[in-house]
């Protein structure tokens, strides 16, 4: 069979067009319907009904075998409480109500849409799940701590030593970590897998923490103002704070 150069080019052009538009026509490149995107909403007013409360931190650290290391240079934490000025340094201004300035609230991994930690991880040990959770695969972590340097929220901790001696009790259903790996909050992916809420949300005595899909969280917002930590960095954090 002989064919002219003209007819070959015409056929190639038709195939190129089909290749460009077929996925759109077939709907295969559309985002999956009903894809979940998890987020956490912190209602600071409710949280501060119990000043000094540490229930979220205690519940989380017990559930995940997070060691209590007294040396602040070596401590490991997944969620902890900070004052308003430490959570939102740029939000403090002379007209900010004093009640708000006196707030404290929990800080944790923000599970960003575009997490810098994931971008710098050389082994793929930290990654974004389809539901938006920034997860850690400790099996792959080589302890380089690039992610800790990249995270603008200081949400990651390094195991400078074997954490087991610093555990008062061990939760048998959750592994500990080992020396030389980085760890952080993972939105309790092990609990979500069995249909439970995150440990901090369950433990909160004032129901200040609401966990769920972003779209559904909108229903739980009663305040005028919802802010995120350092949105100017473009990481799109998914821990929201309602003032």
């Amino acid at each position: 069979m002989t064919r002219s150069r003209r007819s070959f080019l015409a056929d190639a052009g038709v195939l190129t067009l089909v290749g460009c538009f077929a996925p759109r026509l077939l709907g295969t490149d559309a985002p999956a319907e009903g894809r979940r995107r998890y987020a956490l909403l912190v209602n600071l007013a409710l949280c501060n009904q119990k000043p000094g409360c540490q229930e979220c931190r205690i519940a989380c650290h017990e559930a995940h075998n997070v060691p209590s290391i007294p040396d602040p240079a070596r401590e490991v934490k997944w969620i902890w409480k900070e004052g308003f000025e430490r959570i939102f340094p740029t939000e403090v201004n002379p007209l900010l109500p004093e009640a708000v300035r006196d707030f404290s609230g929990p800080v944790l991994c923000n599970h960003c849409d575009d997490p810098p930690c994931v971008r710098v991880c050389p082994t793929g040990a930290t990654f974004v799940r389809p539901d938006g959770i920034v997860a850690m695969d400790q099996h792959r972590c080589i302890g380089c701590r690039y992610c800790m340097a990249a995270c603008p929220y200081g949400a990651r901790s390094f195991n400078f030593q074997d954490p087991r001696p610093f555990l008062e009790a061990t939760e048998a259903d959750y592994p500990t970590r080992t020396r030389g790996v980085v760890e952080k909050c993972d939105f309790c992916s092990e609990r979500l897998g069995t249909g439970r809420q995150p440990a901090c949300v369950e433990a909160c005595p004032t129901q200040a923490l609401v966990f769920g899909e972003v779209a559904e969280l909108a229903k739980s917002i009663s305040s005028q103002r919802v802010i995120r930590r350092r949105p100017e960095l473009g990481t799109s954090p998914h821990v929201f704070y309602a003032l």
Partner: protein, 133 residues
């Protein structure tokens, strides 16, 4: 002439024996020694039922199987019913299950740096009907 050749052959034979016999003997001794008795464990009591896969297959492929489970859980978020815990429900003692073979082949996997087999052992101590593996 003939005598010299015969003597030469005898010397050669003795030399070959000196070189070859000790390794052969030591290999034979090694294969008869206790180190090469099968390190595998007896099966768990029959009321436990069968393993998640065929035992012979598990002996060869459990490391790949565990890695596959690991990736499904950690990376894909698919939590199945089988975990390291499932192993410890039947093979109660880590020392007589994991460690026994790993020591025999001088292998030191780091599973237990983070994961915990011993709590299952504690449970077995409290409930002796679970039996030894």
């Amino acid at each position: 002439m003939d005598a010299r050749r015969t003597r030469g052959r005898a010397i050669l034979g003795v030399a070959a024996g000196v070189v070859l016999v000790p390794p052969i003997l030591s290999a034979a001794a090694f294969s008869l020694s206790s180190r090469t008795t099968e390190p595998f464990l007896q099966s768990p009591p029959p009321e436990k039922g069968s393993c998640v896969e065929d035992s012979a297959w598990m002996r060869t492929h459990h490391m790949d199987y565990l890695k596959q489970l690991r990736d499904e859980v950690v990376r894909d978020g698919v939590r199945g019913t089988v975990s390291l815990r499932t192993c410890s429900e039947c093979h109660v003692e880590q020392a007589r299950f994991c460690d026994k073979c790993h020591e025999a082949v001088d292998l030191r996997p780091d599973c237990w740096d983070c994961h915990d087999y011993s709590s299952a052992e504690a449970g077995a101590a409290a409930n002796p009907t679970r039996g030894a593996p």
